[in-house]
Symmetry: C2
């Protein structure tokens, strides 16, 4: 598994458009306690509201890593960022990047890291030595968020559910499968970058055996009905052995965004596909909730859609940005108890 050294100095470089700094905002929103400060170049126009710090100050304050929190078009590291990256590495901060450019390709950065005793961590590169999945049941409980398509809230939903579980005093970990998730969590595996043979083995490694009442809340990827990424999704489902699935959907979509010739089937059909797949490695897998992204709806239509979907699927339905997920948590925890202890 990739493991990052916290706390972070969040590098915003010269970014001017907030949407290119999504990762940085995600860190601020979901790992605020792990972010010591932000490092911005002179022309930067985005502000996370964190203290501005240079690498030396961050290192003195105990920072473990400089995390590149932006993703410009093309995903490359710009030349003008290099002095800041070198300075951070010289100070002993690990440099963490999810961009296409490998950190080793930045002139002088490997040497600076060696001198500073820092690591260069390319989050797109999966860890070595992943096994082939074996499908043997592991102890502990697992929830996996799954979706009708890409980019409709699987990470956000998992973060919300993990937070809600912990707020109840339940032992729970968010398990990250994508770059931003790995930065937020400080650990994880970029599942879509794994060699195909090791897909489910990577997912098995990501959520290892745990205490019987511990929940891993696993960030889903792709979709079983996405013509490009379904293989990734199936490997993740099989390796995760989820006890609980939460299906994420954006009701404004009727087709796969990347493949508009492919219609999204009714939610109950999609849920059935996921359950069929999940039960290969966990015959007890159940759908426990539906997470809808209703940002395009007014309050009345939101309430009516959430209610209607809950009735259709027979599970609680919520919008993680707008409504409560507590009923999902209630049901999960009740159903996960031994029969004798259920109320």
């Amino acid at each position: 598994m990739i493991e990052l050294r916290k706390p972070y100095l969040v590098f915003l470089a010269d970014v001017r458009i907030p949407s290119f700094a999504k990762t940085a905002f995600g860190l601020r929103d979901w790992a605020r306690a792990d972010c010591l400060g932000q490092l911005r170049l002179e022309s930067c126009e985005v502000d996370l509201g964190l203290p501005d710090m240079d690498p030396a100050a961050a290192a003195a304050a105990g920072a473990g890593s400089l995390v590149i929190g932006i993703a410009p078009v093309g995903g490359r590291i710009a030349e003008v960022w290099a002095p800041a990256l070198l300075a951070a590495a010289e100070c002993g901060l690990d440099i963490v990047s999810g961009l296409h450019t490998r950190l080793e390709a930045v002139p002088g950065l490997s040497d600076a890291a060696r001198r500073g005793g820092a690591a260069l961590v390319n989050i797109r590169t999966p860890p070595a030595g992943l096994p082939v999945g074996n499908g043997v049941r592991r102890s502990g409980k697992r929830l996996l968020t799954v979706g009708t398509d890409c980019a409709l809230g699987k990470k956000y939903t998992a973060l919300v559910l993990a937070r809600a579980l912990r707020a109840r005093g339940v032992s729970a970990d968010f398990r990250a499968t994508g770059q931003t998730g790995i930065m937020i969590s400080g650990a994880g595996i970029p599942i879509d970058a794994v060699v195909a043979d090791f897909l489910s083995g990577a997912a098995e490694t990501l959520s290892p055996a745990a205490a019987t009442d511990h929940w891993d809340v696993i960030e889903g990827q792709g979709s079983l009905i996405h013509p490009g990424y379904a293989g990734v999704t199936l490997g993740l489902v099989h390796g995760s052995q989820p006890d609980a699935l939460v299906l994420c959907h954006d009701p404004s979509r009727t087709v796969i965004v990347d493949a508009p010739h492919i219609p999204i089937p009714p939610l109950d059909v999609v849920a059935r596909r996921y359950l069929d797949a999940a039960r290969l490695t966990n015959p007890d897998a159940r759908l426990v909730g539906v997470s809808l992204n209703t940002s395009s709806l007014d309050d009345q239509r939101r309430e009516s859609l959430l209610g209607e979907t809950a009735r259709q699927l027979g599970v609680p339905c919520f919008d993680p940005l707008k409504t409560s997920c507590e009923q999902v948590i209630d049901d999960m925890l009740r159903d996960a108890l031994p029969e004798s202890r259920r109320t």
Copy 2:
């Protein structure tokens, strides 16, 4: 796509056990016309029945590649093979290997290849630049062999069907997704070595748009119900957009060999899963046959099982080693015709 230079000099090295030379026997059986000869070291005890040739003679006779036709335990290139490999590269023969050891790691081989103008081809390494799959329908017809488990005849079945189609005068290509298949065909993509994001894109690349009456017969990999490899299988199914599926099964297996805690469901359930998956990218996908490996049965039990399975699944059922696949071909070709031309 990986493309190999034919014809071949088949390298048997110092192998003593025929089962370690499966790839070489596969080449002899399925690509006999492409095999100029065999190259054996002194201690070799396996004989393909091909003319013995040294690299210089093979090069003079027009050979394009020396193909390593054996896979010893551990999958490594032994030191004692090196002189023969170097001599072949010096003569201008491409060196083709499906072993774990990369050819570049054999001391002196890269230099010898440079001098000889030869390429070093590691078949485990997928081609660069594979796209993400888009699921857009392509012209031409495709058959994919799929299975209840690994290693039960998907490659063999595909080879038999491709040969039978060509024997009818149908334009047909065997499309290889594994190492032996790639050597037999001279081209292909090792699908299980592809980075997960590009799985179905690799399958799309493997069987490109073709004439409307052309058939690509695609070698299946893994199984949708294998806990380690199902992601590979699903990506291959989606990218192949098969019009026709042939389900391969070994009736002596009741569980997944690598995962004996996972039972193999009834064949109709497995077939339904494959059809559900395939229809995402090809709504016309149909099951056209079942291929059974009945080597453990006597003639009477074979006939009865084939008949029973055909009745259960509603499609012709054959054993590619023992019985004819012609009824599958009949049905495929009839159903692939426009309605007006069907008899």
